[in-house]
Amino acid sequence: MALVEIRDVHKSFGDVEVLKGITLDVEKGDIVTIIGRSGSGKSTLLRCINALETINGGEIRIEGERIAADMPNLRQLRQRVGIVFQAFNLFPHLTVERNITLAPVLTGKIAKDKARDLARDVLARVGLAEKIDAWPEQLSGGQQQRVAIARCLAMSPHLMLFDEVTSALDPELVGEVLKVMEDMARQGMTMILVTHEMGFARTVATKLVFMHQGRVWEQGKPAELFADPRTPELRNFISSVK
């Protein structure tokens, strides 16, 4: 059984159909990168996976469990699926430590007196142990994004979603975030990324998905797709982002 099973998923905003029947499997340990032009539905698909958007047709299963915005145990499910956003979305009024420990403590995942150790542990994994008492506003964009990743890691997710997490960063800060993601990939985390980082898609990903006009246009091993795109759309896309 695949960790994530996406079957014929449809999603519309008003009259505009953004996802037109997406089918995709993600196995445990997969690093799936989703690429495509803006408006192709990449981010919407990602947001459907943890029910931030309600799908209009088809089904999505995570670890066999069917996802829906009105499911009673949606919160438990979300604790297993981390998502990192383009705009970081750290809580400005909480220190780095509290940003990380808020959810684990409130959801009863960890005792209050163990919380600081947990924060220290996940911050070390993103290389920011010394920032435990900083406010988000005092960090650079790259550091904020790494804290956002650490915040997800603190929930020990089974799956991580990344929604264009380097797009809002200055170019010189992109590398530090990608490095953290590469480390996570090496440690076997299952990841689905929407990204414009073709280097990452080429070298780290185990599976590449090209979306076009709300459909999975092509999918396969990154090396093969980059070397030999079967459709003119992917060929054009690759040459336009080179």
Partner: protein, 221 residues
């Protein structure tokens, strides 16, 4: 004109009593009005349409008519409909309704100022809606509205003097009473003013202290 405050000292307990009732009136109206404000703000943002319309109507009527007339309606008109309230209670109700209308607008603005993405981030971590409100929305929203909310509170405190017009025994009413006994109008109202001023300043000190305690995170200017 010679100033003579000596006659006033005989009435110090009366002044203290008046000041305490002014404080009580302020606190009652602020607490009740804030409750109206929180409920109203939540409903005006997400309630059913008729409820939203009703709240909008309430806000517009209260904010665009004189508070004194609102008080008179509650004190003089409601009895003819069978609801008779003593002066202090009538003033407390009128000022709560008055403060509530402003509080809804202020609190609504504070909630609107929290980006949707902050709520999503909380939901994605598996928090309940109440936990998201309590731990993610509340403090930043409060910080946004703090200046306008506290100055509205000061306006409320000064506005409690309206209650004297229905003979509620607050500070200004007490001043009028002492004036009628001593005929030292200047001295009486100077002292009454000084007490209002001291009350406002005391609250401002408390608000500033709370502000320092609650809002310690840096913000981008």
């Amino acid at each position: 004109m010679t100033l003579n405050f000596s006659q006033l000292w005989r009435y110090d307990d009366l002044l203290l009593h008046g000041a305490l009732l002014t404080l009580l009136l302020t606190v009652i109206a602020a607490v009740a009005g804030t409750l109206i404000g929180v409920c109203g703000a939540v409903l005006v943002r997400g309630g059913p349409r008729p409820v939203r319309w009703a709240i909008r109507g309430y806000i517009e009527v209260i904010r665009n008519t004189p508070a004194l007339i609102q008080l008179f309606i509650i004190f003089f008109v409601l009895p003819s409909l069978g609801l008779r309230l003593p002066p202090f209670e009538a003033a407390a109700v009128a000022l709560s309704i008055y403060f509530g209308a402003y509080a809804i607008e202020i609190i609504r603005a504070g909630l609107d100022a929290i980006p949707r993405a902050q709520l999503e981030a909380g939901e994605c971590l598996g928090l309940t809606r109440w936990q998201v409100f309590r731990h993610i929305v509340f403090l930043p929203a409060l910080r946004t509205i703090y200046p306008s909310f506290t100055s509205q509170f000061v306006l409320l405190l000064l506005g409690t003097s309206l209650a004297s017009q229905v003979s509620a025994e607050e500070l200004f009413h007490t001043g009028g009473f002492i004036d009628s006994r001593t005929f030292r109008s200047f001295e009486v109202y100077a002292v009454v003013c000084a007490i209002y001023f001291a009350l406002v300043m005391a609250f401002k000190l408390v608000f500033a202290g709370l502000q320092r305690l609650m809002f310690r995170w840096p913000v981008r200017r």
